[in-house]
Symmetry: D2
């Protein structure tokens, strides 16, 4: 459906610089509708301030490309490593995640200066002899990293504005339209040995390897994601009040947080409304349900007397599916593929160390940047998380 | 290695009663060395007071067999459902887990009376016409449930006594000897399609089904578990202080709780000691390391440049392994097998609702009752838990 | 009304031993109705297990009298200092308060042996030449300390049994009857300079000194405490649901804990019941309201358009008051009197270090031992505490 | 020393408007050096975002003066009541204190528009016939309320910048100079009956009434506050490591938070530095120690073998003291004076409902606005708070 960021055949210098500029610019385009104050706040630990995303993605290029590989590079500000390092233990101390929203400085203007400075240096670097071929994968990683943060940015912006009692409008033209789904057909995949995992010659994350064989029983999988209409039926039939559909952990979560609907849904004057990038609106019943936790996805499937697909089932069936609107919770835990190897050094911390306690999501969403999705992509979140653009696909 | 509790061919009435008595008596034998006070306390939420185990296992027989199936059965005490229901939401309100250690009543003597009463009624019941064949699986479930609690009892007793500053002795003759391991060979299993899951005609838990095919790459697996000697090398080489061996979640756990060794280990006067059922003793280097979390198991494997086996690998290789001393952390998350079905009603809550966020352990331990282990058994705990008799087996 | 434990004129050796035995025996009499299990649990951090009280009071005599002053005294168990030291930082490490309920050992039987051993040694000591006159105040402190714990024991026993879903009966004959109050008259005290604080020649705590002058405006004070009848009117008129009667901190407490009535009150089948030492009973409307927090006492007074007395007002009016049924919350914070001096050494930690954030209670209660009350006695608790036998007296 | 905001003799219309403008402008002057981002964050629950202070003080005038008293007044934004109400339960729902830092909107620019709008309306109102004499006290309350927030603003700005790893400079010229103190003399006040509490004809808060008689013993009180030099001696002599100087609650606080020095002090390269409005600087030993908790103040006094004065002692001696640099912790709890009466309605919530668990501070600080201090002023904070400009004065 979508295409990969790059292929190894297209590594001409000019391409890299254009690609760098294109992706870097897109990040700033996402932030254009924000007011300065919107860049600063961190309402919950899982949501980072937009200005932190702007700085952190820039820090990645400075730390992993410019500092080690551009001779005589002067860091923009030596204190920024402390502020913008997210979780790379190798690279020294870092502001802990819960504290990011306490930092008013560096200011948004200073961070944009930081971006401009690093971008100028990167332009020099990418056109220099120092940008040798063995650094191409590292640049690609940095660009894909920035694209991941573009999606996180949109989710975090939605959280910040959607939890403000004034429900401010972001700007609809920055976001693709939400599709509508009318089809509830299922396709059947036969028992057999299949291969999953990345095996192209473009970019992929380390967690998509090795490509390997899996044995699958015959299964059926819905070609479209679950809609708001269907999810409303679950709500109205008391799905949130009957423990029998829920994991024990999910039921505790429902009780503790008094969950009654997906994130951003509000029952106002006898109507279900939800917060969108255009403000508060009535639910569109034909759109795919969004912002549900794994617990909710699994409970919905149980109520439907079906189940969520595994990630292998999803990938094998992907060509038959209408995907790309929602990150779809699978019933697979996020674990290494056979033969998975962490890369050496700090970039080795990228994926492997998160392979416990999280669930895999497959597909992509309306917030995923163009050219940043593929059917082998393994996204992962804790099962209680709802701020991403998550949805449900049924299997049986 | 071990045999199952029963087989469907041996369902004569007299057998069931003898088996019931044998298992029920063993629970009380485990508690013989306790003082009354030891039955009462709950030092952490994961550890239940021994008297609660005694009551809860009894409540199971009363609630699922006697009440619905023995005509005119009089419950021993109508309030006990509230006290001894553990998590069956179907069966009504329950004392929440964190409150069990606050209850001094019912007294230990009253709970033993409760056991005696239910045992007498069960004896009548099992010899009556009311104990029809379709109830045999329910009885078997109750007996296996009690055996599971026998192991939990031993783990909880060890926790209670091992966290008392007086380090009281339990009584060694109640526990089998710990084996010593001298071998570090590995066996090799070839790539291929294998079947895992239970397919005998005896008892198994619902989570062991369906038996199904899996495709495995070629792998090697150690025939013996990791010893204290090997784990000491990990400690002494700084394994607990280098984040690179750890999952991010595990590293947070190490930092937050200042973990420096397995549970029950104490560094006293320049020697490593550990608390055992015989009190504080010097580490026996040839015994299998015990009471480690999944995080520690995974970090150890990473330090060894190996990995933990998956549960499928473990089961396929089981015949070649020396297992049964420790519950062995696998790198598999606890998820349903293809075709898994919850049973109808309250017993359907037994396993399925825990299938998120936990890791599978395979094998058995010195605390597992005789006749309560099989190679398809799927134990599961949260990755931070260490109070069970957990150990490590390496693969690559 | 009540008399003091001793006077300096009555310090003959035989008296001290008899007094010691009398007080020590009374502690054990209080515990007679308990089952072993009741001695062990600690439902909340503010409630200590009864066996801890038994050990701690004994540890006081061992640590402050026998060890330093009886030659060749052998401590019963060197580990007990760690277990039974409550808060004396001078005397070394201690089990933190939240952990007391996790300790099954020493057993109840062992603690009674400890008491017997220390009592035998104390008998020798009190009759020996080593018990010199300058040690009399220390013994008196130990005896008053034990009497304080007798009242705490009763409060903690009530909490343990009263929070058990089986509502077990303690034993009424161990407790004096609750008086009934029919009078709502007030007495008037004129403006003037008064003296408060202890100035007799018997025992008093350091916090009752120095006796000093205070200037009081004219005030009125109720001669009887507030009854359940009056408090029911507060409840029924919505007192718990209107913030305007409450301190901000009290209102937060009401909201957070969903407080709707005094501790131990339950609204069952349209009637207000409360847990008493005789089990669950219907409210006796003429008894003094009991088990209220300072917040509730102050809110009630506000609702009545009156106020709580200060401790100086209370003491000055004491001769006119019917007191001794309830510890009466005053509107005075617990602070040092002019000229207050901590005593040197560990016993100096007795009172002074608590002189922040707590409120003073005056009087005594049905749980106070005979001969352990006087009108200058300053009891103190945090304003949210309700497990003591606390009540309300109005002033204006 | 300082003079009061107004006197009842000076209530000409023009005066009120000038005073209103003067005070409102000063708030904005304080914020001039801030960048937009600095207005938004809330690093801890006790620190409010500067933009919240700007809005809340404005909301006070809108809610209590314009809405009820200016005919046809149109509220600026009906949602602002929810955002900017701090604690007035009477006035409806409010954003809870911990959430203020999550709100990026209304933006800083919008809040300045809100201020401009309300100020214009207030100018009309204060010159209109609607501003009748009985409203003068309410306006005065609003102006004093705004002055209180000016000091809180400075404390919160210092906290926000001083906890940023970049230690940004505020702007020194916005703050008065810190005085130096060289004198350690004490003055003596004789035993007697004194009067305390406000009795002038200007403005005072309700908690300063009634003026009433107190009896004081003879005491001595230092004429100058404790300096950094003296406090350094306390640190260097191990004052933070010896429990005997501390309240039990204070010692727990020291242990839990690993307190080793006043807030904003950092031991860097063998020197004690502190964060000031001009950035990180070496300690000036002759300035008064600042940003200490009550616990630290009391422990310091104990170490000096002195004590803190009571608020009555402070007020009686005030004419002899060099005060105004620091809010001085007294050893008095914040409780009502004899005859204290809450005012009717929402403004009655101003002071009375906080009269539990807090300690009184007397004096004023370098952050107190001119004309907003008097010797009868009763400030109050919880004993652990250090973000205000608090200091120590000794007595004995």
């Amino acid at each position: 459906m979508n295409q990969n960021t790059s292929s190894k055949n297209a590594t001409k210098k000019t391409d890299w610089l254009a690609m760098y500029r294109h992706i870097r610019t897109h990040t700033e385009t996402i932030c254009e509708p924000l007011q300065t104050e919107d860049y600063v706040v961190q309402p919950i630990v899982d949501v980072s301030p937009p200005k932190w995303h702007l700085g952190h993605t820039t820090w990645f290029f400075e730390t992993f490309l410019l500092q080690p590989h551009l001779p005589d590079y002067q860091v923009f500000n030596a204190n920024y490593n402390y502020v913008f390092n997210s979780y790379y233990e190798t690279i020294g101390a870092r502001v802990i995640r819960t504290d990011r929203g306490n930092l008013s400085r560096p200011s948004v203007a200073e961070i944009y200066q930081y971006r401009a400075y690093v971008d100028a240096q990167m332009a020099l670097f990418l056109q220099s002899i120092h940008f040798t071929q063995h650094l191409h994968p590292l640049l690609e990683l940095g660009l894909n990293h920035e694209q991941q943060h573009q999606e996180l940015l949109l989710a975090d912006i939605k959280y910040i504005l959607g939890h403000n009692p004034l429900f401010p409008v972001y700007e609809s033209k920055k976001m693709p339209e939400n599709k509508v789904f009318l089809d509830d057909s299922m396709c059947t995949i036969n028992e057999g040995i299949y291969e999953i995992g990345y095996n192209g010659d473009g970019f992929c994350f380390d967690n998509e390897k090795n490509r390997h064989k899996v044995f699958l029983n015959r299964f059926q999988i819905a070609t479209s994601p679950v809609t708001n209409e269907e999810f409303l039926q679950f709500i109205e039939s008391g799905g949130y009040r009957d423990f029998k559909y829920w994991h024990a952990e999910g039921w505790d979560w429902v009780q503790k947080h008094q969950i009654e609907a997906p994130l951003y849904w509000h029952f106002i004057d006898d109507r279900w409304m939800y917060y969108t990038f255009n403000g508060l609106q009535e639910i569109n019943r034909q759109q795919a349900v969004c912002h549900v936790s794994f617990y909710e996805a699994a409970a919905f499937a149980q109520w439907k007397e079906m189940r969520l697909p595994t990630e292998a089932e999803w990938e094998v069936a992907a060509e038959e599916l209408d995907w790309g609107s929602r990150w779809e919770w699978t019933n697979s835990a996020y674990l290494p593929y056979p033969g998975f190897q962490k890369e050496a050094g700090a970039v080795g911390e990228y994926n492997g160390k998160f392979m416990v306690s999280q669930m895999v999501l497959r597909g992509a969403s309306i917030a995923t940047p163009a050219n940043h999705s593929r059917k082998t992509y393994r996204n992962f979140f804790y099962p209680n998380l709802r701020s991403q653009f998550t949805g449900i696909r049924l299997a049986k």
